[in-house]
Symmetry: C2
Subunit: 313 residues, 2 copies
Amino acid sequence: MILDCAIIGGGPAGLTAGLYASRGGLQNVTMFEKGMPGGQITQSSEIENYPGFFDHTKSGMDFMDTWQKQCFHFGMKHQMEEVTSVYKVGDNFQIALAGKEPVEAKTVIVCTGSTPKRAGFKGEDEFFGKGVSTCATCDGFFYKNREVVVLGGGDTALEEAFYLSNICSKVYIVHRKDTFRAAPSTVERVQKKDNIEIITNAVINEVVGDNMGVNGVYLGINDGSTRKLDLTGLFVFVGHNVNNMVLKSNNGEFICDVNENGQVIANLRMHTSLEGLFVAGDIRIDAPKQVVCAAGDGAVSALEVISYLQERS
Amino acid sequence: MILDCAIIGGGPAGLTAGLYASRGGLQNVTMFEKGMPGGQITQSSEIENYPGFFDHTKSGMDFMDTWQKQCFHFGMKHQMEEVTSVYKVGDNFQIALAGKEPVEAKTVIVCTGSTPKRAGFKGEDEFFGKGVSTCATCDGFFYKNREVVVLGGGDTALEEAFYLSNICSKVYIVHRKDTFRAAPSTVERVQKKDNIEIITNAVINEVVGDNMGVNGVYLGINDGSTRKLDLTGLFVFVGHNVNNMVLKSNNGEFICDVNENGQVIANLRMHTSLEGLFVAGDIRIDAPKQVVCAAGDGAVSALEVISYLQERS
């Protein structure tokens, strides 16, 4: 059997693509996701910026549970397999699976997202989603009029610190060097902001807390001294890994155009440079890394798959 | 007072822009919407394709009610005024209001959407949302394995008819001429499809039904005869009006680039050709006209407004 559409990845983008593709009348739509569907958001204890969903008693896990059921209701199938690569043979695609025969599909939507890098300090994993965050847009508001610390020295770190400084009472920026990789104008803007304090030549040694979440962050300074910040929010911005490995062919080249950061180049209709291959969510250029945006992408990509298949028929 | 951001239009795009702008720390965010916020979706009796929202007991009105409360919770203000035009003076914008002093804003997000044209037959308004629809993606699935009729002869009408033919048992296309404006390849594809019947030289005289919704459609044929279709779903695709009037200046030109259909040209970050002016939702090019996509646009546009203001500061 040849699939009408193979969806790689089961976060908000992939699930929404599946919902729209199957509800739109495609007969054979399979989402490949080796883990439980839902994506990064399942690690959140609370969501308040997904439009129309405003229930402080529900976690990210509860939220994605309804979402999944909705997708499966319309006929999308989930195959719990790891996709190792995607390549085009003639008009169709081969989806290579770890330790299994490949699957053939007429179209592919890649929704494998990106993964925030961890910094590696003690307590980081333990308190992730309980005070340690990698998304200012998502979690900044939970620290309104409170103090937070940002780890990182790149453009994203400094821009996010500035964003947080408009919400939080004070933002500490901890950076291991005394110079910044970020653009000079961004550095200057951050330096001028009254409620931002920059702590250079410093690392985070440990984050501590209790069952209410984080309550302190221990810094190690290059001169050998230490410092403790008594606060409940820590934002880690040390980069993202774009999960584009399935698009890399054996010769090391990508099967579609990507930018210098490995993000897939797409237009407003989620077309890539390769016919029949679409993307949605955090894997693409300019992705705002928000659930509602990934979901919007998923819907568009599926509608475009349907038109593409209509034209091919 | 100068607003940080003026949002024009209160549908899903405008409301989400307001949510993200105010939750993102902007102090003065006002949404201008002369009617009740919520947009077209409030006319739907049931929604099943907004990801994460899967409750058949709730109407479009119920859905948008929670959504609005969420936006207002974070500080967005609603001004119940009609915006007549938006124009740039220096670095800022003037928002002209009907019968009131204009308001000044540093940035503007235009989310005025588009409005499906009505065909004008008897019963069309009465049964709108109760069997009469203007969106196949939204409502097609409600007619799975049932018969529907499509009114129109353009590209959209024929493409949507094809889309419906993969879900419904049969699709009638009613078109007032015997030639089609749609692309020849599209016409040919539709003609070849087994479960599509094309009725040319015909109009819809009346749609009838009861409190369960539509149950019949009366056609008038050019030769003077009539025909009744016993079915419960009617899709009207006779064009859209893009609500771009606020962007037209006194000399008749638009303040930003628009395409030949009057849709605003935007990139993936919802920037228009005019600095400080952003769009979101159905007013832009390539808009899929889905709630989740409009909401995604709204989020992106607000995040871009925040970065733009950061850079300006």
